[in-house]
């Protein structure tokens, strides 16, 4: 009988009745053929592969991560509570040692959702990995976490949420932002002044194939993970690097994804993007499940796969090798880089304009972080959007020091009520979310 080497948990939630719009890539049909392939392969019958029904996340779970404007109900549908819940279910199964590892094969995705949410961007409303990670930290006392985002798009939402957190290593491998949405994720994006180096971006040139991806994993990601020593490794397992994906330009194969999964040995994988619903997803997901379970995936291949056709050019190989040198150098020199960042005036301040492509919302943000050597630092965000008005969002990190706590409460309590529609405080020391009465009519 077929038996998994690693006991593997699976939440499969294809949301067959939910779409952003009828012809949107994020539509009902997206996981239909994946379901057919997974069922036909009999993957759920394999001894040691356990399917779970997703739990729902609570509003508290969401508010541990996000400032939703004006509230979670306004920016989430039922399906978001379920897909984040699916990730949480897998996280709990792993932490409870019911399984060795797990894969949340859920939709809608989440890695483009920032800490402040005015609506949907890049098909994402809330960040399902971050909601899971922060739940696991709260419920199980997990501290150091690594999130490796292998979606073809830069995981800018996850980067935003963990920008200031030195205990979360965020590594994103993606198609170069000069050639693809969201246009970010360059080498010099390395984290805020309290967490320089724990955000790592590995942009790859268009037409990178298996060789290049696996090189990035082996030569960059694995050594850095070994150095960081996370208690949990999460893989944001987007599948849009596939050679057949209609909205990207990469040349990754299903077997390549399986090998990547094998190398990375993530505790938890969460599906992100991937829109080649017939040519890629059925095979890639089967490959990931087999690899997670420690089963043979060498008989798996897309019907039309021709490795010769998708081989990367020597120039691409060289470019990736050079990128690797820079990535590792930045990682090794992160202390020195921190000094360099902190001597710059206004290093604790960022102002940004954020466009929500899915919902056509324009947001402007002014962010201030308290530079701190004792914790991740109190964070103050002023955010205004054309659709949802202005908010003040204050974040007090999980292991905040007394000085940062005082700063956060001062920001929250003394904010001029007439300037903001909503004033929020996310107090992670108390696991509480506070809302101050505002004087601006809604």
């Amino acid at each position: 009988m077929l038996r998994a080497k690693n006991k593997t948990g699976l939440v499969f939630f294809p949301a067959f009745d939910w779409a952003i719009s009828p012809t949107h890539p994020e539509r009902e049909e997206r996981l239909l053929y994946t379901q057919d392939q997974v069922f036909e392969e009999g993957l759920l019958d394999i001894e040691g592969i356990v399917e779970y029904k997703p739990d729902l996340v609570t509003v508290k779970d969401v508010q541990r991560v996000h400032f939703c404007v004006p509230d979670p109900w306004a920016v989430m549908t039922e399906s978001h509570f379920i897909s984040a819940g699916g990730a949480k279910t897998i996280g709990m199964a792993v932490m409870d040692k019911k399984v060795d590892r797990g894969f949340a094969l859920v939709r809608p995705p989440g890695h483009h959702a920032n800490r402040v949410v005015h609506g949907a961007r890049g098909f994402c409303n809330v960040n399902i990995e971050a909601i899971m990670v922060e739940y696991l930290r709260r419920a199980y006392g997990v501290d150091r976490v690594a999130i490796v985002d292998t979606d073809c798009h830069h995981g800018d939402g996850t980067q935003d949420i963990y920008w200031h957190d030195p205990d979360t290593l965020f590594i994103s491998i993606h198609q170069d932002g000069r050639t693809l949405y969201p246009g970010s994720g360059f080498l010099n994006e390395m984290g805020g002044p309290n967490a320089v180096g724990t955000t790592i971006n590995i942009p790859l040139p268009p037409h990178t194939s298996d060789e290049g991806f696996l090189y990035a994993i082996k030569e960059m990601v694995l050594p850095i993970l070994a150095d960081f020593k996370p208690e949990l490794i999460i893989n944001s397992a987007g599948q849009d690097n596939h050679y057949s994906d209609p909205i990207t330009n990469m040349n990754f194969s299903a077997r390549g994804y399986a090998q990547l999964t094998d190398l990375l040995q993530a505790d938890i994988a969460v599906l992100e993007g991937g829109y080649s619903i017939e040519g890629a997803l059925p095979y890639v997901n089967t490959g990931i499940i087999l690899a997670m379970a420690g089963l043979d995936y060498n008989h798996l291949s897309e019907p039309d796969y021709d490795p010769e056709r998708y081989r990367q050019s020597p120039a691409t190989t060289r470019y990736i090798e050079q990128t690797g040198v820079k990535v590792l150098k930045n990682w090794r020199q992160r202390k020195a880089l921190t000094e360099a960042v902190r001597v710059q005036p206004d290093c604790g301040q960022r102002s940004r304009r954020i466009f929500y492509d899915t919902d056509s919302i324009y947001e402007t943000q002014l962010e201030n972080i308290r530079i701190c050597d004792d914790c991740a630092g109190a964070l103050r965000i002023e955010s205004t959007s054309d659709k949802r008005g202005s908010i003040l969002a204050v974040h007090l990190p999980r292991k905040a020091c007394p000085a940062c706590k005082a700063q956060a409460y001062q920001w929250y309590e003394t904010a001029p009520a007439e300037r903001f529609n909503h004033i929020f405080l996310q107090d992670r020391l108390d696991d509480a979310y506070h809302i101050r009465k505002s004087r601006v009519p809604r």
Partner: protein, 563 residues
């Protein structure tokens, strides 16, 4: 009048049901090595003194196929499979004569690698040398397009007595289970045929030449003739006989837990609004996971004859059985002996029951009666724990739409129905442990045979339509039709119901009274680029398990002139 006969592990129960209700019931011992004789003995005992002219139908539930599988006595058959990309099909090998040939279809049923006909011919050649007469064929995604299975069968047909095709046995997606299901059908077929033809012939020669029906594990029956197309569909019909026996008296609303407490095991099932719950995929027996549709049942090794042990953690019951209870000459104390000590049953040799109980009582430092009560309690606790686990499993079954997940409610049984030999004794104690209403199924000792007699003919159809490929396929019905791009979900529903009706009538259902329902209907717009290229439609329709028309459960009588 209808005869229902259910072969169990220890007893074979038979009933005769007429316009007057339960006319007669008998119990004969089961001899597993002589099932044919057992069945005939049961019918002989039952019909003794009955006018055979009044009998209109015989329904059988036997352990024939299950025994062959569990005892590893399946005859050699030939298997030809084609997998394509995915898990290596070698890992699903069912038997020595298992040939893997090249050829593949993708998830939409499009050919991605042509069938290697030469390899099929080579397999035929190799099989012919062994003298094998029965064969099975399974290919991946054949339920979306049976073209390769059919071609393989075409090549093989002239050389074998019978070739079974995966897509004809179930429309569900699951290649490994398809392989196992085809294999079991091919392997069970010759023995099934021989056995039931012999039974039919002997009954006819006794003057009982009436339609013979066979119970399936989904709680429905099928005609003698149609059983030869699907002989493995007779496996494990026993638990479904009991559930159908309870059905007549079950509440019509809410969730009900049914417990059939026998000598060796307790079988559990759940009814929702008076309808038994079906298992998501199919029977699992021995090393085989199949696509044979079945009621969701669970069996645990706690029964009247289970071994009672005293361990460091206290008393345990089962899961094994070492013959009969001590009171009937068995070697070790059992719950039946505890009942005997407590005066709940007469038993055989009362002194022997006490003797066994005494050893345990001494070790526990308790009185004889206290010990017997503890055994009784422990048996009830183990049964209820297993029942809770089964309910939890049912409640954690995944769903794939937002609507189902959001609106889905948990099952919490408020009724408990008990049948089987020690049903009244157990029911009394379970009343104190169960939060809800507890009842004993009338005629609890033969309710399984009653269920067998009264089960209606069930069927299921799965239709798959792809308007981009312009095909509608109901693989199980050997239905394959070209459609236009205007084909709708409603067309698919109508078509599925028509196919279901035909199938049910062929299986022996009464064409005047067919209760059909659509249980799943999905339609997906297939978008490529910014254009809708077609619709992908899936419809599942069934005749749910239930009792035959004309049976009046309140009076317990058959109100039908033709039966």
């Amino acid at each position: 009048m209808i005869i229902g006969l259910d072969v169990g592990g220890t007893h074979t129960d038979a009933v005769l049901i007429s316009q007057n209700g339960l006319e007669k019931e008998v119990k004969v011992p089961t001899d597993e090595s002589r099932l044919f004789e057992t069945v005939l003995a049961g019918i002989e005992a039952l019909t003794d003194g009955v006018d055979l002219k009044d009998i209109r139908r015989v329904v059988l539930s036997t352990t024939l196929a299950a025994n062959l599988i569990v005892q590893n006595k399946l005859p050699p058959v030939g298997m030809v499979v084609a997998g394509g990309p995915g898990i290596d099909p070698e890992l699903f090998r069912t038997n020595p004569h298992y040939f893997i040939v090249k050829g593949a279809l993708d998830h939409r049923g499009r050919e991605i690698a042509p069938l290697d006909e030469g390899a099929v011919e080579a397999a035929v050649k190799a099989l012919k040398k062994t003298g094998i007469r029965y064969a099975g064929v399974a290919t991946k995604f054949s339920v979306h397009n049976p073209v390769h299975e059919r071609r393989i069968a075409e090549i093989m047909a002239p050389h074998f007595e019978r070739v079974f095709l995966g897509h004809q046995l179930s429309g569900s997606l699951n290649f490994p289970r398809r392989v196992a299901t085809v294999y079991l059908n091919a392997a069970v077929y010759p023995i099934h045929k021989q056995f039931f033809e012999a039974v039919k012939q002997s009954l006819a020669s006794k003057g009982l030449d009436v339609p013979l029906r066979i119970l399936k594990p989904d709680g429905g029956n099928m005609s003698f003739d149609s059983s030869f197309d699907d002989p493995a569909r007779t496996i494990l019909s026993g638990p479904s006989a009991s559930v159908m026996g309870a059905l007549a008296y079950a509440p019509k609303s809410g969730a009900t837990l049914v417990l059939d407490i026998g000598g060796t095991t307790t079988d559990m099932a759940v009814l929702i609004d008076g309808v038994p719950l079906l298992a998501p995929l199919g029977i699992e027996i021995g090393p085989y996971k199949t696509l044979i549709r079945a009621l969701q049942t669970q069996s645990i090794g706690v029964g009247g004859d289970s071994v009672v042990r005293l361990t460091d953690n206290g008393l345990t019951i089962g899961p094994d059985r070492m013959g009969r209870a001590m009171t009937y000459g068995g070697p070790v104390p059992t719950p039946t002996d505890a009942f005997c000590v407590l005066g709940l049953v007469n038993g055989g040799d009362h002194a022997r029951a006490e003797e066994g109980m005494q050893i345990l009582a001494h070790k526990m430092g308790r009185t004889l009666e206290e010990t017997a009560l503890s055994i009784f309690d422990q048996a009830c606790r183990q049964i209820m724990a297993a029942a809770r686990e089964m309910i939890d499993n049912i409640n954690s079954k995944p769903v794939y739409t937002v609507h189902e997940l959001w609106e889905g409610s948990e099952i919490k049984p408020r009724h408990l129905m008990v049948l089987g030999g020690p049903a009244p004794q157990f029911a009394d104690r379970l009343k104190e442990m169960f939060d809800g209403n507890v009842s004993v199924v009338p005629h609890w000792q033969v309710a399984n045979a009653t269920g067998c007699a009264l089960a209606r003919t069930t069927s299921e159809v799965l239709l798959f339509a792809d308007t981009a490929r312009q095909v509608a396929v109901a693989a199980g019905e050997q239905f394959h039709k070209e459609i236009t791009h205007t084909f709708t979900l409603d067309d698919a529903r109508d078509l599925a119901l028509q196919l279901l009706r035909d199938k049910a009538v062929k299986r022996g259902a009464n064409p005047e009274h067919i209760e059909m329902e659509v249980i799943e209907a999905y339609q997906f717009n297939m978008i490529r680029g910014f254009h809708t290229i077609g619709k992908n439609i899936r419809v599942r329709a069934q005749i749910k398990p239930g009792l035959i028309r004309g049976y009046d459960p309140i009076a317990g009588k058959l109100r039908r002139e033709d039966l």
